[in-house]
């Protein structure tokens, strides 16, 4: 490097200009943003689908669409939200951008592999979405592709399955890349116990991505083989076992929930100390609980199948293990709240998102106890209660944490600040809409309304109206937030290097960061959240 200062990663001109300078860039920061723009685009689609579903459910009977369209919509909503948004989500966007910076590295271990992961992601997404436009109509199986319905339906299911299969590789490669990065590229002096908590959660997540994703890959290939070559794995008509499919599907898809939520927990563990001006309470306990969740999370998949007719022993064991996995999550919540004790809390938008994350995550997690216990699970299994529960975790948990994270790191990413009053209004509206949208579903589920219902009995009408109106409010809040961020990325006021008074390494460098992050690789001597 010459004496002259490096340009920021946003200004840097490499081999290509314009769009090509982005889609062929191997810079982890640009790749992080590529993921963000593609994921946000899909998210707007997925959220619109969700809004249309809620509008259909505002009254019993046909409201704005027919049953086949509705079934196609909730399938596409599930596939988009799970496979295209929440699973890659935080690791691919914020992880790619900040993991190397937070551990004092110039990039991830394999920058080209990182770019390849994004390309695989895009190819997988195109394959999955092509199912909507080609062949015999959009798939209507739900995102779970349960056998034997997925073999009976005449809709265009194969592309959706192959798309999910392809996306799996993107996930595996990102996991591999992050593991090697953290093992090999931490700055001098940063031993494992000095690593910030967001990288720690990415570490736990990366192992799940690497070890669990191949299982769903193989399972989806088995579905393809069964549909095209008529090999009997899962379809009883061919001598297969539908319950086997459920086991294989959830062996991956339950740990996948931790792929979603662990990084979210990591983001919150970064934000709370910064805004409380205080070191995190129980650093070691949070690290230990992260690894415990990643490990125990592999052994609880059976709670998705408590009504499928497993043996009594299996039911007993899965319920027991499910309750055990609740403990490390509880430990995290206790430590987060204790971090605020005797802090000096700077009240700003990222903090509001983080605090409301704790609230919605508690509702999501605690409602999971109802689903972990056998008898209560049987009553609310496959009802609106489950839909409420996982939206509180996956949308409440992951979504709120992402919002917290993007409002926290926005000045670092773009070197500009957003309009705080717009951001605050957006948060209030979104938060209230969110609660109004999903809370009534707990009640509906307790009252017995099954999920994936195009139509319902009149006795369920009241709470459904409330829920649908909540959806409208929430989408309005979302629009405020997105408009504010897009506008501010281009026209916001210039931000300083450390607007929140943070202590981790990303706040020691310029906003926006220079191409290789650090002029000189730092030497770490202090623990990550060291306030004097």
């Amino acid at each position: 490097m010459s004496e002259s200062k490096q340009p920021s990663y946003l200004e840097y001109q490499g081999k290509y200009k314009g769009l090509f300078g982005w889609i062929f860039s191997v810079d982890h920061k640009r790749i992080g943003l590529l993921y963000m723009y593609s994921i946000m685009t899909f998210f707007i689609v997925g959220a619109t689908l969700g809004l249309l579903m809620k509008l259909e459910l505002i009254a019993p009977g046909k409201t704005i669409m027919d049953a086949q369209t509705y079934n196609g919509l909730f399938t596409l909503h599930g596939i988009t939200m799970i496979f295209l948004i929440v699973i890659p989500g935080i690791p691919a966007i914020l992880g790619n951008f900040f993991l190397p910076i937070m551990i004092g590295a110039k990039d991830v271990a394999f920058p080209r592999l990182n770019l390849l992961s994004w390309w695989i992601y895009i190819i997988g997404a195109v394959i999955a979405l092509s199912s909507q436009f080609m062949g015999s109509g959009p798939p209507d199986t739900g995102w779970t592709f349960y056998a034997p319905y997925s073999f009976k339906t005449t809709t265009n299911m194969l592309p959706a399955v192959l798309g999910a299969f392809t996306l799996g590789f993107s996930s595996i490669l990102t996991g591999l890349n992050f593991i090697v990065t953290m093992h090999r590229m931490r700055a001098p002096g940063m031993n494992w116990m000095k690593m910030p908590l967001f990288p720690w959660t990415l570490y736990g997540t990366a192992w799940i991505q690497l070890l669990a994703t191949p299982i769903v890959g193989i399972t989806l290939l088995m579905v393809v083989a069964e549909r095209t070559l008529h090999v009997g794995f899962f379809d009883p008509a061919l001598g297969g076992d539908p319950v086997l499919y459920q086991h294989l599907f959830w062996i991956y898809s339950h740990p996948a929930v931790y792929v979603m939520i662990l990084p979210a927990m990591g983001v919150i563990s970064e934000i709370l100390p910064t805004f409380a001006r205080k070191t995190i309470f129980g650093y070691k306990a949070i690290v230990a609980s992260t690894l415990a969740i990643a490990f125990v999370g592999y052994f609880v998949w059976g709670h998705h199948m408590f009504t499928a007719g497993m043996s009594g022993t299996a039911q007993f064991a899965f319920s027991f293990l499910t309750f055990l996995v609740a403990i490390p999550s509880a430990i995290k919540v206790f430590n987060w709240i204790s971090t605020l004790y005797k802090g000096s809390i700077h009240l700003a938008v990222p903090f509001y998102w983080a605090a409301s994350f704790i609230f919605v995550f508690m509702i999501g997690g605690l409602s999971g106890l109802v689903l972990g216990a056998l008898s209560t699970n049987v009553h609310v299994h496959d009802t609106a209660f489950v839909v409420a529960h996982f939206h509180f975790i996956v949308f409440g948990g992951v979504g709120f944490a992402f919002m917290a994270g993007i409002h926290y790191w926005f000045p670092k990413i773009y070197g500009r600040m957003y309009d705080e009053s717009w951001a605050l209004t957006g948060w209030v509206v979104f938060f209230l809409g969110f609660l109004a949208l999903y809370s009534p579903m707990f009640y509906l589920g307790m009252k017995g309304m099954p999920r994936r219902y195009f139509d319902y009995l009149p006795e369920y009408h009241g709470p459904n109206i409330f829920s649908s109106l909540g959806a409208v409010v929430m989408i309005f809040g979302l629009a405020l937030i997105i408009i504010n961020l897009i506008r501010s990325a281009r026209k916001g006021e210039k931000a300083t290097a450390n607007p929140w008074n943070g202590t981790t390494l990303e706040w020691t460098i310029e906003s926006p960061p220079i191409l290789e992050n650090f002029e000189e690789i730092p030497t770490v001597t202090e623990p990550p959240y060291h306030y004097k």
């Binding site: 430990i331 109802v370 999920r451 994936r452």
Partner: protein, 309 residues
């Protein structure tokens, strides 16, 4: 919520009560703590933070206490679930349940056949369930009972209903287009009322003013209208309206041919639905009614379809 309408419901509702109490205790307690901390330790009130790295006693306490609580919740969930997993008593009344896209049918030991589940209060009822096409799930919310029915593997469930009344019965496992319409009711009768209904086998032989009306009742009994409308609307299968005597294009073994809808075609379509599928509709959705339907019932259905002009 707390209804005590079946032998299972009481235990399940107790488990709900225990778990929900713990949930609300923690949710309210922790939320209050969160809000109080934010309020008391905000920058303007507390300009200097006190650095606290952690506290091992607290970590231990908030590991062990929740551990004991979750084990308690696990225990109550498990004990109140055991009746669901037990074998039915020997004197239970056995009812055969058939689930298919998208209706339920119930067959009693004396050959009575209904689309609504009639049962006596206070007597154990064992359901012997099978699914013909895809996974369905029998769900009676009031009784806190739910069991998936996997095609190819019979599933059992049993319960005792406590009070007479009418309760919803849903399919809880997504099963395709008309999933949300795959519902019926459980009619719990006093044992006297039930016995009177049960021995009255005349109801199984359709008594109606005309063969057309009788046919209409049979069509309803077998749930045919889930897929075949009577007003010309296209659902999953062709509408009955005006189809009799029409010339239609069907696909037979992959080849198109034109036939006239006559008595033989309707009979053949009920017994071998995939043989001649009307063009524009999908194969494999309808499953044969052979062994379920009688020859006489088919004839009445044909009379009914003829009348729909």
């Amino acid at each position: 919520m707390f209804s005590n309408l079946s032998n299972i419901a009481e235990g399940v509702d107790n488990a709900f009560l225990i778990i929900l109490s713990i949930i609300f205790f923690f949710l309210i307690g922790l939320t209050v703590l969160l809000v109080v901390f934010i309020f008391r330790y905000r920058e303007s009130k507390n300009p200097k933070a006190t650095q606290i790295e952690g506290n091992n006693t607290l970590e231990l306490l908030w590991t062990i206490i929740p551990l004991i609580l979750v084990l308690g919740m696990f225990y109550f969930g498990w004990t109140s679930w055991k009746p669901l997993n037990s074998d039915p008593p020997k004197d239970a009344m056995v009812i055969k349940v058939t689930a298919r896209m998208w209706n339920w049918s119930f067959e009693y030991e004396n050959g009575k056949h209904t689309d609504t589940l009639y049962i006596p209060a206070g007597k154990p009822v064992a359901l012997d369930m099978k699914a013909l096409d895809v996974i369905h799930s029998l769900y009676i919310p009031a009784f806190r009972i739910k069991q998936d029915i996997i095609p190819g593997t019979p599933r059992k469930a049993w319960f005792i209903a406590n009070s007479p009344g009418s309760y919803d019965l849903f399919c809880a496992e997504y099963c395709g287009l008309q999933h949300s319409y795959m519902l019926t009711s459980v009619e719990v009768k006093t044992s006297k009322e039930f016995d009177a209904w049960y021995i009255d086998t005349t109801q199984t032989v359709v008594v109606a003013a005309s063969p057309q009306l009788a046919g209409k009742q049979i069509v309803q009994k077998y749930g045919c209208n889930a897929c075949h409308s009577t007003d010309g609307t296209k659902i999953v299968g062709p509408s009955y309206k005006g189809i009799f005597g029409e010339e239609i294009t069907v696909i037979t073994g992959g080849k198109e041919r034109i036939i006239t809808v006559d008595e033989e075609y309707i009979r053949h379509s009920i017994l071998e639905p995939d043989a001649d599928v009307v063009k524009g509709y999908n194969k494999g959705l309808m499953i044969t009614y052979r062994d379920q339907i009688t020859e006489e019932e088919i004839n009445l259905i044909i009379e009914y379809i003829k009348s729909l002009k």
